[in-house]
């Protein structure tokens, strides 16, 4: 009943059994958030530190609420108010925090690999809450939970991921986790935003949104990262929208029961049309609800015996 890994750094490290167990546990945790007293005493006396060097509403709040619903003490540190501003290096920051005996560190950083780096210097388990363009494993897990609760199982489902695949940590985490669970992944976007050679990983590549989503069970729309659009990869946002915005027209030939997901935050009208976003097929807010359950499951499973901080 324990995960095969001490840290959650990437979905690559998670076995099928791990993912299954995380989803099953999260499924049981969903109920707690529907109670009038939304708290259980399970992680009483445990301390969770959220170390966020990059802006975030959803993910940080989600981790914080998850910890609090399990009765853990949650401390939030954001990059702009930490000693990083005074020039402290990140390894020192982490080691100083660890000296105060936390039980889990949740780390988000704009550079890929920071959570993995820190895991070599601290004993507490580390959860990667998004590192650069690398991975965002808890997002992939909550996406899988959302899909599974609408489809019953994951094996054999077809998914199209639309948008900026190259820079998306959400896409990277999802592709690996989905393949582990036996799902078929197709990526869709303009050529400059799709890495070369994806086919060799068993991923289909398409540049036509309408045909690419005709036969899929799930379409995942990624956010166009406006902060990266000064690199000359797109000629204009409007052009991108013309070809890749998920509109009712693009969905015309898709399955009636297609599930639409988006990791947020949404640029309304750029990657997804307003009416599509508000349609019953869109599960964007279910994803957010499921995010709390997934993070509760990760805390619960990581703080088990044998995984606990030996100090």
């Amino acid at each position: 009943m324990l995960l095969s890994t001490k840290n959650i750094l990437s979905t690559k490290e998670l076995t099928k059994q791990d993912i299954q167990q995380i989803l099953d546990t999260a499924d049981s945790f969903k109920e707690i958030s529907t109670r009038s007293i939304k708290k259980v005493p399970t992680l009483r006396g445990k301390t969770i530190i959220n170390l966020f060097f990059e802006p975030s509403t959803r993910t940080r709040t989600s981790f914080e609420i998850a910890g609090k619903r399990l009765s853990a003490d949650v401390i939030n540190i954001s990059g702009s108010t930490s000693s990083a501003v005074k020039g402290e290096n990140i390894i020192d920051t982490a080691r100083n925090l660890e000296a105060m005996a936390p039980d889990i560190l949740v780390v988000r950083h704009q550079c890929s690999g920071v959570p993995a780096l820190l895991s070599q210097f601290v004993d507490s388990p580390i959860i990667n809450a998004g590192d650069g363009a690398h991975e965002h494993p808890s997002q992939a897990l909550l996406d899988l939970l959302t899909i599974r609760s609408h489809r019953g199982n994951l094996e054999g489902l077809k998914v199209a991921i639309v948008g900026d695949i190259t820079h998306s940590r959400v896409a990277r985490s999802n592709i690996k986790a989905m393949q582990t669970m036996g799902m078929k992944v197709r990526v869709v976007g303009p050529p400059p935003l799709i890495p070369v050679g994806l086919e060799s990983l068993g991923i289909e590549v398409s540049h036509n949104l309408t045909t690419a989503i005709e036969d899929v069970d799930v379409v995942m729309i990624l956010r166009i990262q406006l902060e990266r659009q000064n690199q000359g990869l797109l000629s204009s946002l409007r052009e991108y929208s013309n070809y890749f915005c998920l509109t009712a027209k693009a969905l015309a030939k898709a399955r009636d029961d297609i599930l639409i997901i988006h990791p947020g935050p949404v640029n309304r009208g750029i990657e997804i049309a307003l009416d599509v976003m508000e349609s019953p097929r869109s599960l964007i807010l279910n994803q957010v609800t499921n995010g709390v359950a997934i993070r509760m499951a990760l805390f619960y499973l990581l703080l088990g015996e044998g995984n606990a901080n030996p100090n």
Binding site: T25, D27, T42, E305
Partner: protein
């Protein structure tokens, strides 16, 4: 140690059925009918017991009482204390506990720690009028001041023994056996 089919049988299927009948009558007598009661089974085998009590009560009083399922894993006092985490399952209590007499159901009452956890879990759902405890077997060795209100059978045991309740819903047959501790 005996293999399980050779272990001494404490209760057979008939005995279990009679105990369930008697407990149902006792519950109804004590609570003046089925009007204000609700049954809550503790996972795993308490659920089967609570469902049987519900059926029996329906048979006697022609009333369907509220029924819930409690998973006490998150309220245990031994999480992270050297035991592996049991699989977490759903808690399903879809009715309000206020002004209800809650009958908690479990298969075996031993140290009382499970019941302590169950009471804590229950209180997070509301404030019942009272909480009563029904168990199929009371084997003694309490570590907390907890006593059952309805008992199928009292079985004084050595602490080293293991009582195993097998119920059709989970195990395919109805019987209660006593075994040597395996570990």
């Amino acid at each position: 140690m005996f293999p399980s089919f050779m272990s001494p049988i404490l209760l057979n299927a008939k005995d279990i059925s009679r105990a369930v009948s008697r407990i149902s009558h006792e519950i109804l007598e004590r609570n003046n009918g089925a009007g204000n009661i609700a049954l809550v089974g503790i996972r795993t085998r308490g659920v089967a017991l609570s469902q049987r009590l519900k059926e029996k009560i329906k048979e006697i009083e022609k009333v369907t009482v509220d029924h819930g399922i409690l998973d006490i894993t998150l309220y245990r006092d031994d999480l992270g204390a050297g035991i592996q985490k049991p699989e977490l399952k759903k808690t399903e209590i879809s009715f309000a506990l206020e002004n209800k007499h809650i009958i908690l159901c479990d298969d075996v009452l031993f140290t009382g720690r499970t019941i302590r956890a169950a009471i804590d879990a229950l209180m997070d759902f509301g404030r019942p009028s009272s909480v009563q405890l029904a168990v199929l077997i009371d084997r003694g060795h309490r570590e907390l001041p907890i006593r059952p209100d309805y008992v199928g059978k009292n079985v004084p045991t050595a602490k080293s023994k293991r009582i195993q309740v097998l119920l059709k819903e989970e195990d395919g047959e109805d019987k209660v056996i006593i075994q040597e501790q395996t570990n």
